[in-house]
């Protein structure tokens, strides 16, 4: 590449970086501004004399710890159900003679068409009927509905393109379905599983409505649904940002570092 082209590419990439990261810089600065250095004064991108009290207050707040725990529970539970169900489904569709497997996968994918704005009202009734109202478990059972279709589709694409002998050989040796999955298929599917898990985390973190609709007791909130419930005043902004930056951002940032794995997993799962 010529020097000029490199220069152009470099500045374009920098522009992308600035656009992507600017809000985070602002949030961190806002969460560190002391009360007397209001958001309105000075350089909005920099806390001149950082004040860590928002963070120290959070670390000793029992509610914050409870919410962080709930968030972790929801995330892990959602991932376990979504991945478990879609692994089994994708395997069945790819390596068990289910008639019209391709049509079924398309039908699964088509569930994304169902307007989420319509679903959550009736879903309140389902959640109540299951006795899960005001429990973080309500989210654990409802989020997988948004993740499983994509996850199944990606895994199915990957499984069906593996050499058939791989599965056949294991089956001839008398291995059952679960054994074939655990010993033969899942080890080679790790990047795809990582990609699917990352998709699941992004969907879970993107929710707003479900948390708002299903949880109302203070003890039942996740960090995300708590923010959705509160109309945050600008004076509390720093505190709110601190809460999410402390409770959720570490997970998000560590996930972001799997970008390469995600790309690799999608690459093998989406393109067949």
């Amino acid at each position: 590449m010529s020097l000029l082209a490199r220069l152009a590419a470099g500045s374009l990439l920098t522009a992308f970086l600035v656009f992507s990261l600017a809000p985070f810089l602002w949030m961190v600065a806002a969460s560190l501004k002391p009360g007397d250095e209001q958001l309105i004064f000075g350089n909005p991108w920099w806390a001149a004399s950082p004040d860590w009290s928002n963070y120290t207050k959070l670390l000793v707040s029992p509610l914050f710890l409870r919410w962080a725990g709930n968030t972790a529970l929801v995330l892990l539970g959602t991932l376990a159900i979504s991945l478990g169900a879609s692994i089994l489904a994708a395997y069945a569709l790819a390596h068990r003679r289910v008639p019209q497997a391709r049509l079924l996968v398309v039908a699964l994918f088509a569930t994304y068409l169902l307007p989420s704005g319509l679903l959550w009202l009736p879903m309140i009734k389902v959640v109540q009927a299951l006795g899960l109202a005001d429990s973080p478990l309500a989210l654990v059972v409802t989020y997988p509905g948004l993740i499983i279709p994509f996850a199944t589709w990606v895994l199915w694409n990957f499984f069906k393109d593996l050499p058939p002998d791989l599965v056949e050989q294991a089956r001839l040796e008398g291995a059952g379905d679960l054994r074939i999955l655990a010993r033969v298929l899942l080890p080679v599917a790790l990047p795809v599983l990582a990609a699917v898990a990352l998709f699941g985390i992004a969907i879970t973190f993107n929710d707003y409505l479900y948390g708002l609709a299903f949880l109302s007791a203070p003890g039942a909130q996740t960090l995300i649904s708590e923010v959705a419930h509160t109309s945050v005043d600008i004076n509390d902004a720093g505190f709110t940002f601190a809460a999410i930056l402390l409770g959720v951002a570490p997970v998000a940032v560590s996930c972001a570092f799997f970008a390469d794995t995600y790309a690799k997993g999608l690459g093998t799962g989406v393109i067949d």
């Binding site: 909005p44 068990r96 009202l121």
Partner: protein, 310 residues
């Protein structure tokens, strides 16, 4: 490849009984599909059917209501003015942001596919807006656009792009819509970028080598190698993202919630407006259902395009 998998079973007649039993493929297949069907049936199919029913009733939050035929739809189409504003806004919002996310995502992917320093860090940083909770980022953007605290204006003024104090973003319909689109693009761009990068990485490099030997320039290589080979992933991402953007609730709800004067509602927030603060569940359900047939037709069209030529 998929025809090859079909052949796998049914070959051995003389196999032990337990092998023949597990080769009754379909029933076992259904058992493995059960968890998925259970989750989707309980939390998607049933609520959807119930929602269909709600949309033709006069249900309110505290009253199950009764069947009123197409009364709700009639009200929307003929009387409810913000409904039409929301309807067109939804298309505008989805259309404009999709064009931006697609173009920016593709450029991002092409840039990320080069070799440059701090690669891992840069890719992570660019993916972050997509993973971080939307509640958090949209709240941040809301204050970044706020007329009093607007750092967006602070930057624009300091770069001498606009005269102080800069636009009152949420004060006018067009600037408020622009703010919505900027935030949606910011959040959605990485999904395109990383998925396209995934596609780029599967293209064999010797194709470019061969094209160079034949004297094709970079633009020709992009047009005749990159784009056609990227087509499946371009379509899938476009499909999924378009559907999700049509239904986007978080960004418009947190950022403007229709302000100013119900002029920036999209169908998702307008349905919520009727259903929850307004208490008219039936009406809310019918508002959110309007897009369903339209979307289905668009998607069916794209799925036909998606089918691999076999």
């Amino acid at each position: 490849m998929s025809t090859a998998t079909r052949r796998v079973s049914g070959a051995g007649v003389s196999r032990p009984l337990h092998l023949r039993l597990i080769e009754r493929e379909a029933p076992m297949g259904y058992i493995l599909l059960l968890p998925t069907l259970l989750v989707l049936g309980t939390f998607l199919a049933w609520p959807f059917l119930f929602g269909l029913w709600l949309s033709v009733t006069s249900a309110e939050l505290s009253d199950p209501g009764h069947f009123i035929g197409f009364g709700n739809y009639n009200f929307e189409f003929k009387i409810d003015h913000p409904f039409w504003t929301s309807f067109w806004n939804t298309f505008l919002y989805t259309g404009v942001t999709t064009v931006f996310k697609f173009t920016l995502g593709l450029s991002m992917a092409l840039l990320l596919n080069q070799i440059f320093p701090l690669q891992r860090f840069v890719r992570a940083a660019l993916l972050l807006p997509w993973i971080i909770p939307t509640v958090l980022s949209t709240l941040a953007w809301k204050w970044m656009f706020d007329p009093t605290f607007s750092v967006v204006n602070w930057v624009a003024v300091h770069l001498h792009l606009v005269a102080a104090p800069g636009p009152n973003w949420f004060g006018g319909t067009s600037t408020a819509m622009a703010a919505l689109m900027i935030v949606n693009t910011w959040r959605g761009m990485p999904f395109y970028g990383i998925a396209f990068l995934a596609g780029l990485q599967t293209i064999p490099l010797d194709l470019y080598e061969a094209a160079r030997v034949d004297g094709a320039n970079r633009w020709q290589q992009f047009l005749h190698i990159t784009l056609p080979l990227l087509r499946p992933v371009l379509l899938v991402v476009l499909l999924l993202s378009t559907i999700l953007t049509f239904a986007d609730f978080q960004v418009p709800f947190v950022l403007t919630n229709g302000a100013p004067y119900n002029s920036t509602h999209v169908l998702a927030t307008w349905a919520y407006q009727w259903g929850v603060p307004g208490g008219a569940i039936g009406l809310g359900a019918s508002v959110s259902l309007v897009l369903f047939p339209v979307l289905s037709i668009i998607i069916a069209g794209v799925l036909v395009l998606l089918r691999r030529p076999e």
